[in-house]
């Protein structure tokens, strides 16, 4: 049977409890950050290579201060991937404000490493179980979006409902899931 949480979740919890072995694990995980930043930079060519260490440092800090928001649905590295992306956006936002230069992302540029889309059955089973726990129309939208890879616009068209409604269900589905998964690896969060 698939565990409801990825094994990385236990490691993050151990790190937050201050266990020494988990600190070694965490350091090993964070080695992904400079590599992810270097990958993501291809999407934002106006970021200079000499700025990447600063962005990686910021991403590392952000990750360490937001560990409680890792829900354990995916490998920790997948969560770090989004943290790096957000850090890169934050950096470009700040730089753009300071220098009034165009630092927008290039949507045509190569972006992330290739996806192991269908390879991780365990991941899909875990996600399916988490989504089904919230039930209702919101769960259907989340499944179609994340397990079938469909755009909300397509979902609205195929079901014959307004796009606004689908957007709202999607948002509410994420909020419900966030609520249900609220207890982060630090033991904090909302009651499930």
């Amino acid at each position: 049977m698939t565990s409801p949480l990825h094994p990385d979740h236990a490691q993050v919890a151990a790190y937050l409890r201050g266990e020494a072995a988990a600190a070694t694990w965490m350091a090993d995980q964070l080695l992904c950050i400079p590599r992810l930043v270097a990958w993501l930079r291809r999407k934002c060519p106006s970021v200079r290579t000499d700025q990447l260490p600063d962005i990686a440092q910021e991403a590392g800090l952000t990750a360490l201060t937001r560990l409680a928001s890792y829900h354990g649905l995916a490998p920790f590295e997948a969560w770090l991937h989004r943290i790096c992306e957000l850090s890169l956006y934050t950096f470009t936002r700040r730089q753009g404000r300071q220098r009034q230069t165009d630092l927008s992302f290039d949507p045509e540029a190569p972006t992330t490493p290739p996806l192991d889309a269908m390879a991780d059955d365990e991941h899909r089973a875990r996600i399916r179980a988490a989504i089904e726990s919230i039930g209702g129309a919101e769960a259907d939208i989340l499944k179609q979006r994340h397990l079938e890879g469909r755009e909300l616009r397509d979902i609205a068209a195929s079901r014959g409902i307004p796009l606004n409604t689908v957007r709202t269900w999607y948002y509410r589905g994420l909020k419900k899931l966030q609520w249900r998964l609220g207890e982060g690896p630090d033991g904090s969060g909302v009651p499930a």
Binding site: A78, Y170, K176
Partner: protein
């Protein structure tokens, strides 16, 4: 159990479109909103991060070579510096209350008996930041300092806090490069002239005028690479 209705409403149209992928984080309206509305930014980032966990996991980058010299070492040091104190977990709480009390007593005694050494600078009877998650730190390119300046935005300061930055060289001598006496910002840009005036190794200390955190001091060593 699902969240109460007031946790879900009102729905924010921009947040919905951002989550739907119809707006990007690089969209100017989103950028402005995230800059001006920290609650919106926090919620957007939390939900985007959750959505990322739902997506198929990206292929691991572990096999990639170190993208720049020192990248791995910087991450290891970051974790070492960020080690959290042990957080008691349910079921183990108050297991050794006498040990905690004894340790606290020893700390108090040590503080009382410890010889007073270097007098720490103060502003407005301030405390000193202990969490040194600031930049620059460690080895950085000299040229990048003009862009980044001193930045302590990750400390999560409360409004109204003012800061003072002190610079010293390797031998502890105070450096003066024309920094303002205090600032209310979360970063301090540097001019090319100021960067040129910095030695290749220096220490900068960030001092807060506000006791918003259990802070003491934030002293960070920097090595400027040519």
């Amino acid at each position: 159990m699902n969240p109460p209705r007031d946790e879900l409403d009102p729905v924010d149209p921009m947040l919905e479109r951002l989550l739907a992928g119809e707006l990007g984080l690089d969209d100017p309206t989103v950028r402005d909103r995230m800059q001006q509305d920290p609650d919106f930014a926090a919620e957007a980032e939390a939900l985007l991060t959750l959505a990322a966990e739902l997506d198929p996991p990206p292929k691991s980058v572990r096999g990639e070579p170190e993208p720049w010299a020192g990248a791995d070492r910087a991450m290891v040091e970051l974790v070492q510096q960020h080690r959290k104190p042990v957080v008691p977990i349910a079921g183990h709480r108050r297991r050794w209350p006498w040990l905690v009390a004894m340790a606290a007593a020893l700390v108090v005694a040590a503080l009382m008996l410890w010889p007073r050494g270097e007098k720490l600078p103060e502003i407005d009877g301030s405390l000193y930041l202990q969490n040194c998650m600031v930049s620059p730190r460690g080895e950085v390119q000299r040229g990048s300092l003009v862009t980044t300046g001193f930045d302590w935005s990750s400390l999560g300061a409360t409004p109204g806090t003012t800061y003072k930055i002190e610079l010293t060289d390797e031998k502890g001598r105070t450096l003066s490069i024309g920094l303002p006496a205090t600032t209310g910002d979360l970063s301090l840009p540097l001019t090319q002239t100021q960067v040129d005036a910095l030695p290749s190794k220096f220490r900068w200390m960030l001092i807060s005028s506000n006791d918003y955190s259990p802070s003491r001091r934030c002293s960070t060593d920097v090595v400027l690479l040519p």
